[in-house]
Subunit: 368 residues, 2 copies
Amino acid sequence: MNDYDQIKVHLTSKSKEKPPFDKLQFGRNFTDHMFVMDYKEGLGWHDARIIPYQPLQLDPSAMVFHYGQSVFEGLKAYLNTDGDVLLFRPSENMKRLNRSNNRLCIPQIDEEFAVEALKRLIQIDHEWVPNGEGTSLYIRPFIISTEPFLGVAPSKAYQFYIIMSPVGAYYKEGINPVKIAVQSEFVRAVKGGTGNAKTGGNYAASLKAQESAEGLGYSQVLWLDGNEHKYIEEVGSMNVFFKIDGEIVTPELNGSILEGITRNSVIKLIKHWNLPLTERKVSIDEIFEAHKQGKLEEAFGTGTAAVISPIGEFFWQDEKIVLNDHKTGKIAKQLYETLTGIQKGTVPDPFGWSIPAYNTSKKATAVN
Amino acid sequence: MNDYDQIKVHLTSKSKEKPPFDKLQFGRNFTDHMFVMDYKEGLGWHDARIIPYQPLQLDPSAMVFHYGQSVFEGLKAYLNTDGDVLLFRPSENMKRLNRSNNRLCIPQIDEEFAVEALKRLIQIDHEWVPNGEGTSLYIRPFIISTEPFLGVAPSKAYQFYIIMSPVGAYYKEGINPVKIAVQSEFVRAVKGGTGNAKTGGNYAASLKAQESAEGLGYSQVLWLDGNEHKYIEEVGSMNVFFKIDGEIVTPELNGSILEGITRNSVIKLIKHWNLPLTERKVSIDEIFEAHKQGKLEEAFGTGTAAVISPIGEFFWQDEKIVLNDHKTGKIAKQLYETLTGIQKGTVPDPFGWSIPAYNTSKKATAVN
Ligand SMILES: Cc1ncc(COP(=O)(O)O)c(C=O)c1O
Ligand SMILES: Cc1ncc(COP(=O)(O)O)c(C=O)c1O
């Protein structure tokens, strides 16, 4: 990458105080710097730079405030025992960002350049990668439409940002099983909509159902398809897997489900372990029926924020089923340990998923 | 309203140059001032103020950039021949803003206060209301989520803004008939989603279809329902009406269509004129069939931006039907003239829709 060397770097004159790494919340603290790049029609993406973390200045008519044309990604960096920083499958996130861009009429980015820019940002802020159990550096690339114009049309100007946040567990339950309410009134997404893109509107649409689930004492929502309210889509910000009668099943990608990178990694691991797995339509009836017959062995969500989140209970139409006595299932545990192990470089990585972003030896070289 | 007097006003020291009122575009120029009010959990809405139009400063993690929690409105102010400024049904917009707020988990605003705040803003910027044929002052109230936090949940902080833009015609066609492509792949909204709320995500989702319609030489998209791709929902940013065999029909409100204020006004006017009108399901087959039988007399869109926009052509599944020889129909014309007449105070206003926001005589009083 030649462009990579052309990222202008303007370092902060005063590093912020870091939060205590053993008491991290999720998404509340941000590192000293951020990456920014501009887009203008006719000019393309330009002016890539790393600058001190600072407020954005946008015209009140900037399109993102009105017409929601925005996309984002979420990935994590981990510290290994040698003090190196590892990224988990970062190219997959940049690929998905481009798929989201396509759906939202946002110009494509150079995926390779974006990964290199991220590495550069991590090198600069490497002291912000936390080292405690369950902690990581959460990375949020996002693109917003910035043209100052009121009128429904694709924006002619954008900004691409990467910000980073040292984080602890996403769910207060940690790796303990969560309780899930099945949603049958509100719809997250439908085929032909934006469900398989990572864009703000999907999350805005989900808040009302999330609020009602919490009102019932459940921490997450399980979404059903928008047409028949019958087939399982996903859970909150996670894809979902079930183990039924020895077989692992997960809803097939259908155009309205987000194509999770953790989902993809879980499928690859399970196949690598030679366990039976099927991607297909899964109805909520089937799950409740399997439970009645004593065949529902496990359920868990998969996503970058929580990695693997075992499910201990489902609530649907006044009926409640408890899985595994609210304990973490065997597959969920094995997946969690393997995935977090690969992410931190403590277990073998047969797929080459962990990508070094910064290593301590490099630093030594740079000093020479 | 007591609160009304408590709006802090900070006037600009230097008025911007106004664009030539006879060459106005839509949504490109903004007046000298804007209204702002903050919300914080525990504190409620507070610190209402009118300040010079200026960039917003927001943390890069402000939730609106990531999770799309935002709502907006659109309404217009007109200059009448006495130099008074008239608002068209502003309370309806603030009511709808609150319905949108409810769907998006945004705290309710005081509707009456919002209208008063708008009037105050118009008084200050009254010289920006243009006076040419087809021009008006477009008003954009909007609310964005501002809490600096990465995590899917309702924001704990918001800002409510009103900005204003002197505008000309929304469509380059003006009152001339537009050509519409029926969309059967992409979906705008579905029952249980956010289609009946005025929130950014709906518009972001619509861009891709809009782009493909334009590629085919059509200026707008007609949306079908998200389940069966069969029933007509609305057109671009307009509700839609048809005259079939002497009867006026419009899709009924079904939870996924925006409840247009122009739609409501058109229904009231048509009933006032004792013409037959039905709100019901209207399938796209019915429209094409009616055309074949020579019974499709008119079609037009209704919305604040264009008021009434006659439709001259529909394209669907490789078939194209032309209405009225691409000429504006009788009902569309009558509605356009009556509505714009009421809006500008040149024809009687039996419903009390036009609300004075600023009048020249008041100004004289103020000077005494
Ligand atoms: C709606 C939704 N589904 C699924 C996922 C899981 O995707 P990934 O494993 O790539 O984090 C996420 C989170 O990114 C999400 O927001
Ligand atoms: C999706 C959509 N439908 C319909 C309308 C028409 O609504 P109104 O007549 O209130 O402007 C609008 C514009 O506001 C809109 O954005």
